[in-house]
């Protein structure tokens, strides 16, 4: 079944909603459109499979740091999760099953890379140019995620490296790693999962750590057959389990809010974990962070610290500076002969790649609008970009809870917006600049006093150009749904919009 109208010429389709991406965001949007009886949409996917981050990140040890029953759609609970924290391949399968079971496959255009998107004010439509032709739609939803385009630091001499080089999200499975001398660049969430795996077979492993991380215990375990059977037979028990996890994680927002007693307890839990697992005081010192807990993502692992104590593993407590042939030289001047370099250096987040592709009616890109950092009303819509919705856009990241919860709140908002527009003569939804400014100012106020803006805190949550917190939602997750999960037309109606101009 092809949902699009008759193509005007090959490769062109006109639909109501064009969605970019088929990860958690795009699939949630598509599934809810279908469940609400809306069939006129396409999902544009540059790769040949769904699942975004979980399709790309195939490195050894890839797994989720948010418990499985919460890191899944509320409308598609899954009694089959094998473990408290899901291994990556299981999430990939869950999202493939979702795309299939929700009837989304006929709507997905695989191998379709978006090259440009512009608002056509006369036609009141978005024109989306892709590698597979042009799509037009009244609404454009970008659902390209926070972790889609890998970030690679410019390293002098890397081109001349004699061994193999790749990023953790573009794993080269052709390169044998057994018995090799491997350098891991970075010590964040990916490295913490990867290092224990590589350490098992590498002859030598060097971890280049720019800054130490807080690592807390990972209370992982397999679900028993009896538990899974209960979840199958009694879905309420599964919903209760999900709620328990949600509220447990939600309570930890107080750590980010820097409530002294609660932050102290969390910090000592992390430092006690380090003390228990690393006996060598010198190594322990190099692994002790010099900033507040929660500033960067708090990592969870029971195997990372022990891996660093192995004889074949070296913790280099400074960044990779440059490469000379087969030698990797750290900022502190230490030299290592290596066969493979794996970059666990994260993703482009402060300036999301889609922002360079999306243009307003005058041809100005979102990226230019966001020269001082990204911002949006309700974390979803941008003044001057009518009928555009951004899933996982500005101020939607969480340091303490599940992003899937945020995505679902955004999808509900967008559904409400679509319904309202349709009921009001296809009203074009352009949010008032004043409403957006008010929203962003309040968020910045709300960020004061949080650990993200504490002294000495540098993280990917903060835009380096403005020093503002643009990636993180600086509040409880439930507050996001309360504030941003229900569409209200007031900031989009003519009176409010003209008042702002």
């Amino acid at each position: 079944m092809n949902p699009s109208t008759e193509p005007q010429h090959p490769g062109t389709a006109d639909v109501e909603v064009v969605i970019i991406g088929t990860g958690f965001g795009g699939l949630a949007m598509g599934a809810q459109l279908k469940r609400h009886g809306r069939e006129s949409f396409v999902l544009l996917e540059r790769a040949d499979d769904v699942a975004g981050t979980w399709r790309d990140n195939t490195y050894p040890g890839a797994a989720c740091d948010v418990p499985s029953h919460l890191y899944s759609f509320s409308f598609r609970p899954n009694p089959e999760w094998s473990r408290f924290f899901s291994p990556g391949p299981e999430i990939l399968q869950y999202l493939r099953d979702t795309a299939h079971a929700e009837g989304l496959l006929p709507h997905i255009r695989f191998g379709t890379n978006v090259e440009d998107a512009r608002w056509d004010a006369a036609a009141q439509r978005w024109t989306v140019t892709t590698s597979q032709g042009v799509f037009t739609g009244r609404f454009l939803v970008t659902a390209t995620g926070h972790l889609s385009d890998e970030a690679l630091p410019p390293i002098k001499g890397l081109d001349g490296f004699t061994g193999d080089v790749f990023h953790s999200a573009r794993w080269n499975h052709e390169v044998p790693l057994e018995g090799k001398r491997i350098g891991v660049i970075g010590s964040g969430a990916t490295a913490v999962q990867l290092v224990p795996e590589l350490a098992k077979t590498a002859s030598e492993l060097v971890v280049f750590q720019r800054s130490a991380q807080y690592v807390t215990p990972r209370p992982d375990r397999a679900y028993t057959e009896s538990e899974k059977q209960l979840f199958r037979r009694d879905p309420d028990a599964m919903a209760d389990h999900r709620s328990e996890i949600f509220w447990f994680l939600e309570s930890r927002y107080a750590e980010r809010r820097a409530v002294p007693d609660i932050l102290d307890k969390a910090r000592s839990q992390a430092l006690n974990h380090l003390e228990r697992q690393v006996k060598d005081p010198e190594l322990r010192a190099r692994l002790t962070p010099d900033y507040e807990l929660g500033c960067k993502r708090v990592l969870i692992s029971d195997t990372y610290y022990p891996a660093l104590t192995r004889d074949n593993v070296t913790l280099e407590a400074s960044a990779l500076d440059h490469v000379e042939g087969s030698k990797a030289i750290s900022r502190d001047g230490n030299t290592y002969e290596l066969d493979v370099l794996v970059f666990c250096t994260g993703f482009e987040t402060a300036e999301p790649p889609y922002a360079r592709l999306v243009h307003d009616a005058n041809g100005i890109s979102l990226s230019d609008h966001w020269a001082q950092g990204m911002e949006a009303f309700a974390s979803t819509t941008v003044a001057g970009f009518p009928n555009l919705f951004i899933i996982n856009g500005p101020n939607t990241g969480l340091g303490h809870n599940s992003i899937v919860y945020i995505i679902e709140a955004q999808v509900d908002y967008i559904l409400g917006a679509l319904d309202w527009s349709r009921a009001n003569g296809n009203h074009v939804l352009d949010v008032s600049a004043r409403a957006q400014e008010r929203y962003v100012d309040e968020l910045q106020q709300r960020s004061d006093g949080t650990v993200w803006l504490s002294n000495g805190c540098k993280s990917w949550y903060i835009d380096p150009r403005s020093g503002r917190l643009t990636l993180i939602w600086p509040n409880f997750a439930h507050e996001f749904r309360y504030r941003n999960g229900t569409f209200d037309s007031a900031p989009y109606t003519a009176a409010e919009t003209s008042a702002a101009r």
Binding site: P219, S251, H478
Partner: protein
């Protein structure tokens, strides 16, 4: 009276009531006091054997970002005044209201025994208490509570080693104890709580509570919060308050009596959304909690 400024702009002060010093905390900063989304200050009243720190250590700082928050620490009255009565505790709350928030309408929040005190204060001071939140409260002690209280008293008199475990068993829900272990939180505030002489007189007071004549006169817009697995003040007590207060709505948290420890973030959510629009849900509504 005394006033000391603590971290984060919070003021700690004392006032004298019935010859004893009563401590209070005041977040001072008046967020949203005016404008479209104006909010009354929140006044927090703790439960048996508690304190602002023990019962509202989580809620106070997180709610203080939304509106001014004041909390009262109950003080034991001097022994010459006879046994502790509900009126002693009511006077302590009213004295703090008069001293810190003179002539200002408030949202009064009470937890456990604090909910009993808050309900009584609300009934007698309708001009001050505009909104009322009763968490795991009750209006008339029943046989089930008397039995639990009697076991507690016996263990206490015998200086039993089992008293700490018994209190944890009564306070926390089974699901919470099991889940805390699964989630790796090895210390869900099970640290032995040491009862003192003031706890003893509060426990004695708990055996004789009866404000059932007063509760129907409460005029405040009221939210009653029951706790599904509460074994100390079972949820039927909250249902009885809900039934007796004219402008009351009811909601339930999946938790034991120790809701301030088990589901503090959900309690913040429910109180915050109530204070944002107290009459959003109509009187008589049983409000389902949102599923995440």
């Amino acid at each position: 009276m005394s006033r000391t400024e603590l971290a984060g702009g919070v003021v700690e002060g004392t006032i004298t009531v019935d010859g004893v010093e009563v401590r209070y905390f005041d977040s001072v900063a008046d967020h949203f006091a005016t404008g479209e989304s104006s909010r009354h200050p929140l006044v927090l009243v703790h439960g048996t054997g508690g304190s602002t720190r023990a019962h509202y250590g989580y809620l106070f700082p997180l709610l203080a970002g939304r509106q001014r928050v004041v909390a009262v620490d109950f003080a034991p009255p001097v022994p010459t005044q006879g046994p502790l009565t509900l009126e002693h505790l009511e006077r302590q709350v009213v004295a703090v209201l008069d001293a810190v928030l003179p002539d200002r309408p408030v949202t009064l929040v009470g937890y456990s025994l604090g909910a009993v005190v808050a309900a009584a204060v609300a009934a007698r001071h309708p001009q001050t208490v505009r909104n009322l939140v009763l968490v795991a409260g009750w209006m008339k002690t029943d046989a089930h509570q008397e039995l639990r209280n009697k076991v507690w008293q016996r263990l206490r008199e015998e200086r039993s080693q089992a008293l700490g475990d018994y209190m944890a068993f009564c306070a926390f829900s089974g699901p919470f104890l099991v889940a805390s272990q699964a989630l790796g939180d090895s210390s869900p505030a099970l640290t032995a709580f040491e009862p003192n002489a003031f706890t003893d007189v509060q426990m004695k007071l708990n055996r004789t509570i009866d404000i059932s004549g007063l509760v129907p006169s409460i005029a405040a817009t009221t939210l009653v919060i029951g706790c599904t697995h509460d074994q100390m003040v079972p949820k039927w007590h909250s249902k009885a308050l809900f039934a007796s207060i004219p402008d009351a709505r009811y909601t339930e948290i999946t938790s034991g009596h120790a809701v301030v420890i088990e589901r503090p973030a959900q309690l913040v959510q429910i109180i915050d959304q109530f204070t944002d629009a107290p009459s959003r849900d109509a009187a008589g509504d049983i409000v389902a909690t949102a599923r995440p």
